[in-house]
Symmetry: C2
Amino acid sequence: MFSQSEENYLKAIFHLQQESEKGVSTNELAESLDTKAASVTEMIKRLADKNLVDYQKYYGVHLTNSGELQALKVIRKHRLWETFLVDRLNFAWDEVHDVAEQLEHIQSQKLVEELDRFLGRPKYDPHGDPIPDEKGNIPDAPTKRLIQLQKGHKGICKGFNDTSSSFLQFLEKIDIGLGTEIEVIHIESFDESMTVKSNGKEIALSKMATDNIYIEEIEVN
Amino acid sequence: MFSQSEENYLKAIFHLQQESEKGVSTNELAESLDTKAASVTEMIKRLADKNLVDYQKYYGVHLTNSGELQALKVIRKHRLWETFLVDRLNFAWDEVHDVAEQLEHIQSQKLVEELDRFLGRPKYDPHGDPIPDEKGNIPDAPTKRLIQLQKGHKGICKGFNDTSSSFLQFLEKIDIGLGTEIEVIHIESFDESMTVKSNGKEIALSKMATDNIYIEEIEVN
DNA sequence: ATTAAAAATTAGCACATCCTAAATTTTTAT
DNA sequence: ATAAAAATTTAGGATGTGCTAATTTTTAAT
Ligand SMILES: [Mn+2]
Ligand SMILES: [Mn+2]
Ligand SMILES: [Mn+2]
Ligand SMILES: [Mn+2]
């Protein structure tokens, strides 16, 4: 139906437009897709012709409903494949991205449906990211971040904003993963860095790190 | 490493060159890849530049060792994925081809290795075709065909020469599959058609059909 | 051996996707 | 309000892969 390149653009636009109401800019897209602004402008015009995006010259793009559904289908496949790779094929969570980036473009309605069934209809991928259903509905995802937790409070790690392999490897090193219980021991006010306790150890985390960790707060009575 | 198109050419050349010593012709390839002769000539030149084929203008192509290894890697992936689809994802054996045609191009050494392990290192795919190992070694495959079996003799179905979905669906209909025991009841000499008995039923098979069914003869004492 | 038919190649073009450099428009700073 | 800077688009070109039509070479028929 759509080319790999088109699908990659739709996905990138989807992710970037989460961050603000404004149209996604040409440069943002170029950066995110590791290509040049001129190429982005070209592709955007093609996507607009196919009614996948609304495009106003110089003012960025928005996905149309059709474009968004398409993007969600690709994201669904990406996350299902990641789940397959980690749960069934012994991939580490920081090894799956490049392969899922290819597998997400395989065209077969039946394959997606059967894969989903085979995996037990998972709601979240190995990074805690929600897996949209075939209609494009996304399960609730945690929105609270570790950075928002107050001193003395606890939470369960539910996901990550940055899923780059460098960040995932960092998490591995400090022994924090999905489901890990984290308690805020201290907040350093001048740089918002934190000391937390998890798996029995005390760990210092930068603002950058705590802003990338989603948690579900545990009510402490 | 190589484009999808290049990989498809290598695979097609590999399969066509099984049939004779002579170079694979431009028209054969065009037919097999559903493209035009002119396009084939172009691609062949590119493959020759990359030392994947030996090419003599007007006299067809042969795979080089490197081209053959490459082709075998693609065939390995194709057959492993077919096995996955049938064994794990409930695909019917005549539904897997198009999807495997896409999946065979996914680039990841680790993925192939882990998939192979996950599937239990299968030797044959759902159509009875042998799965090459990572070095390109192919397990023995049956070479005797039903058409060669004499009246009164029996064999076990081990594979098929034609694995098009129309032939597979025909086999489904007459209830013949891998492992089915087949006995030759009668051979009609004028057109080489056969009456066989399998699963308790007597079935009439054309020469075309019996020439496409591989069997391992059972010694009758 | 000559010629007709078939097969293969070349020439010229199209489309998707990418690029650099130049031009244009918008945004920011003064 | 103007000018400089930044962002974006346009122009022009490259590459990979396909096509049709014309040409060349090989093969088959007489
Ligand atoms: Mn991708
Ligand atoms: Mn993920
Ligand atoms: Mn293929
Ligand atoms: Mn097969």
